[in-house]
Symmetry: C2
Subunit: 265 residues, 2 copies
Amino acid sequence: MAEQPAKKQRTHPPYELLYHPGIPGRGEFIRLAFEVAGVPYTDVANEDKDGGYSTVQGICMNSKPSSSDDNPPVFSPPALRIPGAGRGGKALVIAQTPNVLSYLGERLGLVPEDEGKYYVQQLALTALDLNNEVHDTHHPVGVSLYYEDQKEESLKKAKDVRENRIPKFFSYFERQLKWNQEDGKGKYLVGGKITYADTTVWQVLDGISFAFPKEVEARRGEFKELFEFYEGLKEEKGLREYLASERRLPYSMGIFRHYPELDRQ
Amino acid sequence: MAEQPAKKQRTHPPYELLYHPGIPGRGEFIRLAFEVAGVPYTDVANEDKDGGYSTVQGICMNSKPSSSDDNPPVFSPPALRIPGAGRGGKALVIAQTPNVLSYLGERLGLVPEDEGKYYVQQLALTALDLNNEVHDTHHPVGVSLYYEDQKEESLKKAKDVRENRIPKFFSYFERQLKWNQEDGKGKYLVGGKITYADTTVWQVLDGISFAFPKEVEARRGEFKELFEFYEGLKEEKGLREYLASERRLPYSMGIFRHYPELDRQ
């Protein structure tokens, strides 16, 4: 865990992130929220190498009518467990990445205090839609099939995502930066300080840069302000330390994969 | 518009749904929330046949740094416009289906007053994920291509979604009904009265029944409690009247499409 100021340690519950070990994945959006807020959390499967993943599986991947502690079932990780925050003083367990971010946003100070919190969630949901579309470039026709068994379809899907979808999303993010220019100065998407919209859009840009390096290199000039935002956020307090730490896991065979044949040729 | 009790008309702002005309689409999840809550709304593109869709396009499909009224840009419809609810007394415009449902949930009485509101959002997000996967059965490799140009890929994708994904989601929804048995009596997914989780899951079940009638017929016995919930909700106040009205639009060439070759053979 990152060292945290003692004050913050006392005012937050012991948050537990429940996710697969060894990959950034969708868990990364939640990690980034904690890291930029400077609030401690336990990454259960990565920190407890012995029994951590069994705990995650028991809560998030069971076939019972409850995840744990009388909470409803979870469709799939990531989930967040917060001892003491649920009904009757039990643990609260909630799932779905944008839902967890919405819960944490208000509690970690990562949203404006007014209606702006809906602008933040709107951006995060849209970035997560792009995240899903990029995932589908290597799994267009079968979630449970190997990439090698859907390679022809992947070539078509990746072409459509790179040529049509990525510029549409990038243009939208850039218009958002322009909308927020007065408050955000090109550094933030909503308001004058960091929100989980910034970290979520950043992570998707980072993953796409890993998956499609040639495509991104070719488009940097076209989306100059977006990539200035991307580079600038790496210097943000909390994020800089995190990216240099061992907690930041490398991309491998998760959502963002680098298959050279799917990139711009 | 449905007739509404005068009391409710006075206590709600004049909600405006901004969406494409003529199809249920993602706008339907928002329509259903208003209809079961008995709260008036204007379906801009469908009610104003002359200029309504121009208004939607001008707000949700422009290329400017703002949607309207100083709100940030919208990636795509649906969006919700609420005159007077934004900063400085202007209109608030928010987009992304689950974000709009989250906003409305608390204001229309469609979520529990405690942490249960996160259970509702978790379910709605998961149902909307299934909605997207079913959309992709007819557009697996190119959002901007015709179905006819990706028919071979669609056959593979539809097979995977019908055989692997639909039973996984249906099993999850059914476990949720079991979790809530004491409060919901099999009628509701969270708590003892209707929430937007119920309407959202219902709409996805309804759309899948249209798209894949043979698949659903074959699985009714396997997911008996889920289809009892589905049939039962049609009798819910607000929903029954709506389904019998002209406001309920037929499925056609939107998210849910009936291509017999993609159904179980």
